[in-house]
């Protein structure tokens, strides 16, 4: 009934929304959150494939993705803290000191 394809579609939707957020939103924290959203979409895809193939390897991979996402979140937020401390704002559009 609800087949692999359904879950894949959900995954694609979440991924697209996440991409949209990364490329469009101005606030650095929101951009970061959208990156986590993309990772989740991929996780969903892994788990779906794993379920419909009968193995558990997809679960393990999703596990690892989660662990890495956590690590990345920690470091990334530290950087965002730093960004705010120096510029008093999290607007990524204004953070262009590296321009020519």
């Amino acid at each position: 009934m609800i087949g692999l394809t359904h879950y894949l579609v959900v995954s694609a939707l979440l991924f697209g929304i996440g991409t949209l957020g990364v490329l469009v939103r101005r606030n650095a924290l929101v951009v970061f959150m959208c990156i986590e959203l993309m990772l989740n979409a991929v996780n969903m895809s892994f788990i779906a494939f794993s379920r419909f193939r009968g193995g558990m390897d997809g679960h393990v991979v999703a596990f690892f993705v989660m662990a890495v996402a956590a690590a990345e979140a920690a470091v990334g937020l530290a950087l965002i803290l730093h960004l705010f401390r120096t510029r008093q704002s999290l607007n990524v559009d204004e953070a262009n000191l590296m321009r020519h």
Binding site: T19, V22, L23, V24, R26, V31, V92, D93, A95, N96, L97, M98, R99, H100
Partner: protein, 661 residues
Amino acid sequence: METQIPIHLIVLLPLLGAAINGLFGRRFSEGTIAGIACLATFIPFMLSVQAFLALQGGLERIAPAPLFTWFASGGFKVELGFVIDHLTSIFTLVVTGIGFLIHLYSAKYMEGDEGFYKFFAYLNLFLFSMLMLIMGENLILMFVGWEGVGLCSYLLIGFWYQENANADAGKKAFITNRVGDFGFLLGIFFILYALAETGKPMSLSFTDLQANAGVFAGLATTICLLLFVGAAGKSAQVPLYVWLPDAMAGPTPVSALIHAATMVTAGIYMVARLNFLFVQSPMAMTVVACVGAFTALFAATMGFLQNDIKKVLAYSTVSQLGYMFMGVGVGAFGAGLFHVVTHAFFKACLFLGSGSVIYALHHEQDIRKMGGLFKKMPITAWTFLLSTMAIAGFPLFSGFFSKDEILWKAFANQTTLVPGWALWSVGVLAAVCTAFYMVRVFCLTFLGEYRGGHNDHHGHDSHGHDDHHGHGEIHETPGFMTAPLIILAVGAVFGGLAGLPHWMPGHPTNWFEHWLSPVFTAAEPLKFLDNTSLELALMAVSVSLCALSAGVAYYMYAGGGQHLPAQLAARMKPLYTLVYNKYWVDELYQAVIVSPIKAFSRFCWRVIDDGLIDGALVNGTAGVVNLSGRLVRLFTSGDVQRYATVLFVGVWVLLVFWLAR
């Protein structure tokens, strides 16, 4: 035992002298410098005499083993070796002997000049080159000497280089010579080609060339004409003569040595040395004879109106060289070479005499400002007079014998494609002109009233010589300078004894002709008319015409007709202007050759070098790099989201590819 004469020292000692004077001369006193230089000339002269005597004793040539192999490339080998045969012995005697006399003369003439040591270094270097030219055993060594004398000529003409005109004259001489040398080189290439084509060993040694002479039969005309281009450049024939009058910017001893007695005769030597090539091509010989004849007349006409004493002598040299070429061109090698020797004596004497006059008058060279010097400078005047008579062909003087021999042989020759009487007529006309302008010079310089001011002028010799004569007191020049004059004058008068023609009472053999016969075996087949009475008749005609011309000149310039020159000039204005401006040949060359080349060079410089290579290629490349860097820099906006977007573009493209499958 005679072959043990170290003839290579003849060539190398002047080189040594040049090296010593050139490197260390700055510290020597003038006496030392001159002493070294004269010694480096005198010893070779002694050796030349010794060689000559050895050859007289019956040897055909002195040919010691070559010093070393210069280079060997494939089948082509050039060795550094020197040879003296009958022809070379004459030349070495003339070159070292007259060279030595001029060294003595220069020791006094160049006294006080700051470049004293340089001058003698250059003179010795010149002797080295000239001796290499005449003593080299192969064509390449001759060419080396050829170039060497060209270089020394440049160095010595532009000796007082602080004046632009002198430097320009030096350059002109060198460049014109170079044009000739190009022809010479092409001739050598053709010779090598002919040798290679027929499988003969590629040796340019004269003995080998003569042995292989038959190989060149087909290409003989081409080769000889090309070689003659070289000779025309070096020996100042039309159209490459333009450097010789300008070369008078150099010190007078230079003019005497290089441009009268030695370097300019190199062309004749070359034709004589390669006689076995030239006789194979009647066409080439005709060209040589005609060019010689034409030059003789052409230059003689220009001598009429020159007012600088050295320029008159320069044109006279060009003219006399024309005679020599006419001689060898009709196959009368002996006669042509005899004129080389006699000319060396009287022309050197004339030049040194003019130098003496210039020296005494504090560098005045304009004959219109001279006059009345006969009493004041007797030795100079008498030697000048004797040499003038020799060059004009006064009977029984050396010039008479040599010139008339050439004229007769020209008339009587059966080789040239142009009738002999035509050549003879041109030659006689030139002789008439010669007599005229030489007498004119003599009269204006030595006879009459002194027309110069009593203040010292700056002459055309921009000599750094300090003035130690009293004002207005003109006296004979010192002994160092007059002694060579006397010796040369003696040669000019009695030199004819070496080449007495057969019609003289007692039927003497022409010693000179006989001496050179082993060298010109290839020319023996050439035929000449044998008609003694005709010969004497023609001689009478030419002598009387010359005497008439001399008389007219005397009348016009020292006798009662001194108003005539100006009158005639006014009457024949166009002709006068034409000749006075030397037929505008220099201007013609300037417009047709020099200016286009300069314009082209300018184009190459501005457009190609500055614009294209510097601008477009070098700076352009840098500019392109600069520009593209600036372009790429525009991409760095510093906006992270923009970077992410661009990143995602790549991913998107990949996705599109994947999704489209």
